[in-house]
Amino acid sequence: METLLFLSSGLFLGWSLGANDAANVFGTAVGTRMVKFHTAALVCSVFIVLGATISGAGAAHTLGRLGAVNALAGSFTVALASALTTFWMTRLRIPVSTSQSIVGAIIGWNLYSSSVTDTSSLTKIVTTWVACPLISGVMAVLLFLLVRWLLKVTKPHLLRLDALTRLGLLLVGAFGSYSLGANNIANVMGVFVPDSPFTDIDFFGLFTITGVQQLFFLGAVAIGVGVFTYSRRVMSTVGGGLARISPVPALVIVLAQSLTLFLFASESLEFFLASRGLPTFPLVPVSSSQAVIGAIVGLSLFKGGGIRYKVLGEISLGWVATPLVAGVVAFLLLFVMDNVFDQKVQTVQEYRLDAAVQDEMERRGIVDPGLVDFMDLTYTNPSTLKDNLEKGTDLSSKQVDLVLELALTGRWEIRPGVIARDVDKHWLTGDQMAALRSLQGQSFDHAWQFQQALAAASPQWQARPKAATNKIWNKELSSKLSFLYRVFRTDEQDE
């Protein structure tokens, strides 16, 4: 029952995501009256559900962004803060990035729980505001020139062009909705996976619908309901409020947005190009909301104005306000949850520089006379430890972050029962599984010791050198490792 209650804020987050983000894929189609709102909402919802349950299930092992929050009540509150912020922006008809509202809310939790905030997540947000619309705007202009040339050469009948544009808008919208579902479901529901109230349903031995798939389906339905009930507002901004759009440019805009996301954010594409010795596109943080606005503005400027600058100003303010508001709201709500409802919003982590950590630091070349003062002291507040390390040693900030990572202390026990029950055999490779089994009965005080033991048992547990072709491998490896750290940790579960 408690889990269901906590789940509700994930569903609310899904609902507000649907209400806001559907405009990115179908806003211009509906705004130009090429696709009826109900058709758009139906196609969008169906493909979101498909994307979330088919492709999104691959992300079932990751907790999504909210995974950074290490207590269920904390996740509930952070999701609630993010959902409230997105909902507020939707009321104001402003298309915003839901990911940024989640990151903002997590920073609020970091501040409340004295956790350390990764500064790269802040720079990522700011880069997305600037780089993403710029790239998408240029892309829209280039695509528009191409389409205009094509129309000049092929001279389609007005009605044929109308049918083609309509079909294009529906197809691009459907693909966009599919990836919207696949990419965001982990953020909406991922954190609730370990506490999922659903069990696997077996259909006469033909196929099984897993508990995770049921949970993701529920989340996807929440997104779909958001699309149906409340996405018209933001669609009106994207589809005509910001600038007057005609049908063909409407298609160019959504194409430019999808292409921007595909070329500049796809690690699979980067891997594909790099593994064939081809030059790769630089990966930049992108967001579909920022990309669609960039495409509209870029194309309108190219075609000679028509932009409503007041609306553009409101949108820009909305972008900046989203993570800030989400952070503040999260902080306040966490205070209420913690002090009024007496809910555990964070799990206290211990940080201790013991002998093992000292050896490992030396091995990694982290040597500083000031570190002696920190030996065998236990910290429960990472921010304090970080501040003290920065004051008391000459270590670089990168080294300080590494020390914090190494010093994290807990209890990881490799129990055979957990391997059998919680580890997905299909997800790990045969070698990885064998290496894990070989560690049965062992226990570790630090996550990195667990990782080193795995790496020693099989090269399949070793990170590969930094290169574009190894990025996907390393990312997958780190997601598998965080999964193992979570399921084999015993000190938190014992509480």
């Binding site: 130009t32 009256r33 090429m34 009826k36 000049k152 001279k155 009948h157 007005l158 009605l159 044929r160 109308d162 049918a163 309509r166 079909l167 005609s246 049908p247 075609k303």
Partner: protein, 213 residues
């Protein structure tokens, strides 16, 4: 795919409609020439043809309009296309009215004015034909719209000019005033077809700019 099936059906209906109006212009010329040549059978056949063509054009334009609304097609240009169809339909309506007036009032046109009326019918017919070509281009090749519009304006001006000199000649003659007024009325009737064509051309010029953006 229903999307493309609907568009194919509509493309054909619009083409048929424009063919009908174009054919109507030719029938108009035939009818006037038959009337001037005292060919009663030829004139009666022209009247019967134009009646059929006019009702066919009406039916087609109504069907296209209903289709466009029912399937909410070309939202951006729907108003323009409906305006274009209605105004093009006015040309064939005008042709029908003119020929019927000839049939009802049987104007007595002296031989000396036959050449003027022939030329006037030619210019009006050419203007109507040119605007039909432009209207077709609006759907298929919008840049070619302008290439034909100048022809419409040219033939409309020519019709104006011919009609003007015809009327001057009539009023300078010794005919009775009632006869003069009757002849002027029929010159105007024939000329009005080119005026209707020009009205369509003026709209087309704007629609084409809108489509080009």
């Amino acid at each position: 795919m229903p999307l493309f099936r609907t568009s194919k059906v509509l493309e054909k209906q619009i083409d048929d409609f424009l063919d009908t109006v174009g054919e109507g212009a030719l029938v108009f010329r035939e009818g006037i020439l038959s009337y001037l040549g005292n060919d009663a059978d030829g004139f009666a056949s022209a009247i019967s043809k134009i009646d059929k063509l006019e009702s066919r054009a009406d039916k087609l334009s109504r069907e296209v309009e209903a289709h466009l609304y029912r399937h909410s097609l070309i939202p951006e240009h729907r108003g323009d296309v409906l305006g274009l169809l209605e105004n093009t339909d006015n040309i064939i309506d005008r042709i029908k009215t003119s020929l019927h007036q000839f049939s009802v009032e049987q104007p007595d046109i002296p031989e000396v004015y036959h050449e003027g009326f022939r030329k006037l019918a030619d210019a009006s017919c050419e203007a109507a034909e040119a605007v039909v070509v432009s209207a077709r281009a609006f759907f298929r090749d919008v840049e070619a719209v302008q290439d034909n519009l100048y022809k419409v304006h040219h033939f409309e001006k020519e019709a104006d000019h011919i009609s003007d000199s015809l009327k001057r000649k009539v009023f300078a003659s010794d005919l009775a005033l009632a006869h003069k007024i009757h002849l002027r009325y029929f010159a105007l009737n024939v000329e009005l077809v080119s005026d209707k064509a020009e009205e369509v051309a003026d709209r087309l010029a704007i629609y084409a700019i809108k489509r080009n953006v």
